[in-house]
């Protein structure tokens, strides 16, 4: 398996090489271990900020790097490949949205809330009210971008500082990434901190969050498969590398198939995001397809790669789990597979069987 950056893409090789070196230097094994134990990787985040990655998608005139969406998502995959324990993806997305809403994104980590289906926040008279569970790095992020609807149902974005919300920290997903409960208790927003939300409908951050997690799962699956291919080539049993056993070969072929399919739908979601910048792309459907298919692949790839690694992959010592625990966490965040599958299915059924093909191939 190769690195995400083997793909042909428009992001300069320079930038991805820089990111690669950055993660190699600042997200080595010890940093992942420390993050698991509760010590945030501050040097990593500082390095990312110095490289301008958190604001990469923000136009240059708003203080960002003006990176294209596709290249930004490539960076998200690479960060996930390295299991970088920071809210880089969330910050990139939040900053991008805020800049598109006309705001200048602040420095520091920015998270997104609500992040779960069914949770909502409301705005009335410049006052924000709501609760959100499972917010990524919710207690630690310097800012939280909140999706809320006003009394007329208009989608808005509110940029809320750390001092403005109360947090119940201590929750983590099974990758030990912080997932906190935030409460917005009659938060009075400054005029510049509340803007009409671009791109979003009543689903709030769910579709774009689902696309983020899909990209991340692609990166983490690539890492799993790289681990498994390496291990299968080295591990000798019954006098030969286990890579020579047909059972191992076929399992890994299946995993490669899942990864290829997941990559395809994750790419498709990037196209939809890109199209959404200029036209009314069908972001919701692309997000649903990406998260549903990628999440399913994540479970399969994680299972296969663990099976190939045997007991070794089950240990804390072996780095496989940094990828697999993220897959098992991310597939359930911003809507699990059935949540999105049901969305797709209802839409397809409502349109009828003959309408499916134009939906897939274009009208």
């Amino acid at each position: 398996m190769s690195h995400p950056d083997d793909m042909n893409d428009s992001l300069s090789q320079l930038l991805l090489d820089q990111a690669e070196r950055l993660f190699a230097e600042h997200a080595p094994r010890q940093v992942l271990e420390a993050a698991d134990a509760g010590t945030p990787p501050e040097a990593l985040w500082t390095a990312l900020e110095e490289a301008g990655f958190p604001l990469a998608l923000v136009p240059e005139e708003q203080g960002g790097a003006g990176l294209e969406v596709a290249d930004g998502m490539r960076l998200v995959r690479l960060a996930a490949y390295h299991a970088a324990p920071v809210p880089l993806a969330e910050t990139m997305l939040a900053a991008w949205l805020w800049s598109r809403a006309g705001g200048d994104p602040p420095d520091g980590e920015i998270t997104l809330a609500p992040a779960r289906p069914g949770q909502r926040a409301g705005i009335a008279g410049g006052i924000l009210e709501g609760t959100a569970d499972g917010v990524p790095w919710g207690a630690r992020a310097r800012h939280c971008l909140v999706f809320a609807q006003d009394a007329s149902g208009n989608p808005c974005l509110a940029l809320v500082g750390a001092q403005q919300r109360s947090a119940r920290p201590g929750g983590r997903n099974i990758a030990f990434e912080p997932r906190d409960r935030l409460q917005f208790d009659r938060v009075q927003l400054a005029a510049t901190a509340l803007r009409p939300a671009p791109l979003l409908d009543s689903d709030g951050f769910l579709p774009l969050g689902a696309i983020l997690r899909s990209q991340q799962m692609v990166g983490a699956m690539q890492r799993c498969l790289d681990h498994a291919l390496g291990y299968a080539g080295e591990r000798v049993q019954f006098g030969r590398p286990i890579a020579k056993f047909q059972a191992i070969q076929h399992m890994l072929a299946v995993a490669a198939g899942h990864l290829a399919a997941a990559t395809a739908v994750a790419d498709m979601a990037i196209d939809a995001m890109t199209a959404g910048e200029t036209a009314n792309g069908d972001l919701a459907l692309a997000a649903a397809i990406a998260k549903a298919r990628t999440g399913e692949a994540a479970g399969e790839v994680a299972a296969i790669c663990h099976q190939v690694h045997g007991a070794m992959g089950f240990t804390q010592e072996h780095p496989l789990h940094y990828a697999t625990r993220r897959l098992w966490s991310w597939r359930d965040e911003f809507g699990s597979e059935p949540f999105w599958q049901e969305r797709i299915g209802r839409r397809v059924c409502a349109a009828g069987g003959e309408a499916l093909w134009p939906m897939l191939a274009g009208a």
């Binding site: 083997d6 047909q246 076929h250 298919r293 597979e337 397809v348």
Partner: protein
């Protein structure tokens, strides 16, 4: 992944135009009642093919002097996927258009090109596949049918099996041994275009388990073939066959064989499905969307003149796994007792036909086990 190339591809504007053309054509065919929907590329209907050819949708990429349209591989791709999506009966011309014609164009003699390609493009000339033999299915290099030089060209003895439509096709391309097997078992094989109306051939029908006659065994007894019906250099048949297989495996029919069953199941579930139906249909659609993008990427490779062997193997493995799932999933969300005796119930009819056909999806064109071995080689495991 090393060597796996599924780069994003945006179809060019001319492909969009072609899509509108073939859609309009199929709509008019359907409106005129000229084909029953819910057939697929294994439904043999020469009338359909004889209309489709003159309409310009067969041999599209070939030079005009051989009856082609000089269109891009991407336009041809669009036509194939639209045919599949509509459930058109494409079985008569499918193999000729997909792989036999291209082999002749690329590696055949000028005579073969001139005599055969225009007739394929006209929708009048059909091919079977002459690879497998009774003792060499997955293990193609073990073929024992032999060709020896003869006055007029070559004399062939042996037999081929599983040749779809040999009883109603005009030709097949046969892989035969022209040199005794040596150290390199892939050496010494050669491909020939076989005229099924010529002497020295006996065709034995092999009915499938649904009772249909699609397969045949073809016996060669001192069958003579001219040297200019050879495909590629003598002894290089293995390289020829690998190229042919990449085309055979690379198309959207490798995940769309039972696309029409999915369409019928959606309509069976109706506009207000229950949660089970919605979730399962949504899941299948998410798979189909990924596969369509993968197969589009492969079409892009073909357009660039590549032979996407490993990518085609991977797509076919994932795609046929999906095809195998479709009937198993839909029967659970829209229960029915499958029967071939109630064609008026299009869902039940499609379910029955697919249930009986599905085992072949992961066999024909390379078994799942062969494909996974190829993928593993692409991953560097072999």
């Amino acid at each position: 992944m090393q060597g796996f190339r599924f780069d994003p591809l945006r179809l060019p504007p001319e492909a969009a135009a072609t899509r509108q053309r073939i859609r309009a054509y199929l709509s008019s065919e359907r409106e005129a009642g000229r084909f029953a929907a819910n057939r697929s590329w294994d439904s043999f209907d020469p009338d359909f093919s004889r209309r489709l050819g003159p309409a310009g949708f067969i041999g599209m990429t070939w030079p005009k002097r051989y009856g082609g349209q000089e269109r891009s591989a991407l336009e041809r791709f669009v036509v194939t996927e639209e045919l599949l999506a509509s459930g058109a009966p494409c079985g008569a011309h499918w193999v000729a258009d997909r792989q036999s014609g291209p082999q002749i164009l690329k590696h055949g003699s000028e005579r073969a090109r001139q005599e055969i390609l225009p007739r394929i493009a006209a929708g009048e000339c059909y091919f079977g596949i002459g690879m497998s033999e009774p003792d060499s299915g997955s293990d193609l290099a073990a073929v024992r049918t032999r060709a020896v030089p003869a006055d007029e060209g070559w004399r062939i003895n042996g037999s081929k099996i599983w040749t779809s439509n040999a009883h109603r096709a005009h030709y097949l391309i046969a892989l035969v041994r022209t040199e005794p097997p040596g150290e390199d078992r892939h050496a010494g094989l050669t491909q020939f275009v076989i005229d099924l109306s010529a002497p020295g051939l006996t065709i034995r029908p092999i009915r499938n388990m649904a009772g249909h006659h699609e397969f045949n065994e073809v016996f060669f007894e001192d069958h003579l073939v001219a040297d200019d019906m050879r495909i590629g250099p003598p002894g290089k048949g293995w390289q020829m066959v690998l190229g042919e297989l990449a085309f055979e495996r690379a198309g959207p029919e490798r995940f769309m064989s039972d696309y029409r069953l999915l369409v019928e199941a959606i309509d069976r579930a109706g506009p207000s499905p229950d949660a089970r139906q919605a979730v399962e249909i949504g899941r299948l659609v998410s798979h189909a969307a990924g596969l369509r993008r993968m197969v589009t990427s492969i079409a892009g490779l073909i357009e660039q003149g590549e032979v996407p062997g490993v990518e085609a193997a991977l797509m076919k493995d994932v795609g046929t796994t999906f095809e195998r799932e479709v009937p198993e999933v839909v029967r659970r969300i829209a229960p029915a007792e499958p029967s071939l005796d109630d064609p008026a119930d299009r869902y039940v009819d499609a379910l029955a036909r697919v249930t009986l056909q599905a085992p072949s999806y992961t066999l024909r064109g390379g078994t799942r086990e062969i494909l996974r071995g190829m993928i593993a080689r692409g991953l560097g495991l072999r």
